[in-house]
C-alpha cells in the first residue's frame, strides 16, 4: 500500500515558471476559473429570466388560483448551512494536502462528499418528499407557471452541479488515497475546491433570490 506512493511520476512540487500576469497560478487553475465564469453565465441566464418574469408579474406566485405553495425557508436555510460546512471541510482538505497529510486530506474530502450527498437528499425531500410531502405533492407543478418553472429549472440545475461535484470529488478522493497528490502536488485539490466553492457560492445567491426575496 505504501509502495503506491512511490509510483508517482514526479517527486517534489511541480514548479511552474512565474507568469508576469497570473503569478504562480497553474494552467489548470486558470482554466477552472474560466470554466467557472462560463458556468456563472449559465446561472446568470437562469436568474435573469427569473428576475424578469418576476419583475413583470403582478403577484408572485403568479396565479393564486393555482394554489401553489410558498417555499420553505427554514429547511432550505439548513441546506445552505450544510453547503457552507462542506466548503469549510473542502478548504481544510486543501490545507491538509498542502501539509502533505494524505490521511487528513482524504478524511476531509470524504466529509465534503458527505455534505454534498446530504444536500442532494435534502433537495429530493424538498421536491418529492421522503418523510413529508414534497413540493410536487403540494401543488407546485412543473410546467404550470413561471413560478414553478423558474424554481425547478434553477434549483435542479444547481442540484446537477452538486451531483457532478460529488462525482468529481470522489475521483479526487480516490486519487488522493492512491497517493497521486503526495510530494506537494496538490493543485488538483485546490482546483476541485474551486468548483465546490463555486457551487456553494451559487447556492448562496439562489437561496436569496428564489427563496428569501
Amino acid at each position: 500500500m505504501s509502495a503506491t506512493a512511490e509510483h508517482a511520476d514526479h517527486h517534489g512540487p511541480i514548479a511552474w515558471p512565474k507568469d508576469p500576469q497570473y503569478g504562480l497560478a497553474t494552467p489548470g487553475k486558470i482554466a477552472m476559473w474560466i470554466f467557472l465564469c462560463s458556468d456563472a453565465f449559465s446561472f446568470a441566464g437562469l436568474l435573469l429570466a427569473y428576475g424578469i418574469l418576476r419583475g413583470g408579474a403582478k403577484v408572485w406566485p403568479p396565479d393564486p388560483s393555482l394554489g401553489e405553495p410558498h417555499l420553505g425557508i427554514n429547511f432550505t436555510a439548513g441546506l445552505t448551512f450544510l453547503l457552507i460546512c462542506s466548503s469549510v471541510t473542502m478548504v481544510l482538505a486543501h490545507a491538509a494536502a498542502v501539509e502533505g497529510n494524505r490521511k487528513k486530506t482524504a478524511t476531509f474530502l470524504a466529509l465534503t462528499i458527505l455534505g454534498g450527498i446530504l444536500f442532494l437528499f435534502g433537495q429530493y425531500q424538498e421536491y418529492f418528499g421522503i418523510w413529508s410531502h414534497g413540493l410536487t405533492h403540494e401543488g407546485l407543478v412543473f410546467g404550470a407557471s413561471h413560478y414553478a418553472n423558474t424554481f425547478y429549472v434553477t434549483t435542479s440545475f444547481h442540484g446537477m452541479h452538486v451531483f457532478s461535484g460529488v462525482l468529481y470529488l470522489t475521483v479526487i478522493l480516490v486519487r488522493t488515497l492512491m497517493g497521486k497528490y503526495d510530494h506537494g502536488k496538490h493543485d488538483h485539490i485546490e482546483i476541485v475546491g474551486l468548483f465546490w466553492h463555486f457551487v456553494d457560492l451559487v447556492w448562496i445567491l439562489v437561496f436569496t433570490f428564489i427563496y428569501l426575496l
Binding site: 425557508i73 448562496i204 426575496l213
Partner: protein, 151 residues
C-alpha cells in the same frame, strides 16, 4: 567611511521595516538573498495575506481565517433568514439588505475560500469583469420590467 556606516544603518532600518518582526543587525542586510527568503517567511507568519505580491509564492492556508469566515457566513445566513421573516418590514429595505448580504457572502467565499485574494490583480479582474456584466444587465432588465408594471 562615516557615509558608508550611515548607508548601512539606513539599509538595516529598511530591512527592519520589511520584516516587522525579529530585530535585524546591519550585518544581516548584506546577505540579500537569504534575507529576502527569511523576510517572506516572517511576512507569511505575521500577515498571511496582507501584502502586495499576490500570486508570487505559494500561500500556506490559514485555518483560523477559514473558521472566522465560516462564522461570518453563518451569522449572515441567520441574519438573512431573520430579515426575510420580520413582520411589517418595508419591502425595498428588505430586498436591499438581502441582496447586499448575499453578495457579501458570495464575495467572502470567492476571496477567502477560493483564494482570489492571493491571486494576481489580473487574475481577479479576469473573474470579476465578466461577472459584472450580467449584473448590470439584470438591473436594466428587471427595473424595466417592474417599471412597465407600475406605469
Amino acid at each position: 567611511m562615516a557615509q558608508e556606516k550611515k548607508g548601512e544603518a539606513a539599509k538595516a532600518e529598511k530591512s527592519h521595516d520589511d520584516k516587522e518582526e525579529a530585530p535585524v543587525s546591519a550585518k544581516e542586510s548584506h546577505s540579500e538573498e537569504s534575507h529576502a527568503e527569511k523576510s517572506h517567511a516572517a511576512d507569511d507568519k505575521a500577515h498571511p495575506a496582507g501584502h502586495d505580491d499576490h500570486g508570487d509564492h505559494e500561500h500556506k492556508p490559514n485555518r483560523k481565517e477559514y473558521y472566522v469566515i465560516f462564522v461570518a457566513l453563518l451569522v449572515l445566513t441567520i441574519l438573512e433568514v431573520g430579515v426575510a421573516q420580520v413582520p411589517g418590514i418595508s419591502k425595498p429595505l428588505m430586498r436591499l439588505s438581502l441582496v447586499g448580504m448575499a453578495l457579501a457572502k458570495a464575495g467572502l467565499v470567492a476571496m477567502f475560500y477560493m483564494h482570489l485574494k492571493h491571486e494576481t490583480k489580473i487574475m481577479r479582474l479576469t473573474v470579476a469583469i465578466p461577472l459584472a456584466t450580467p449584473m448590470l444587465y439584470a438591473v436594466i432588465l428587471i427595473s424595466e420590467a417592474a417599471w412597465r408594471l407600475i406605469r
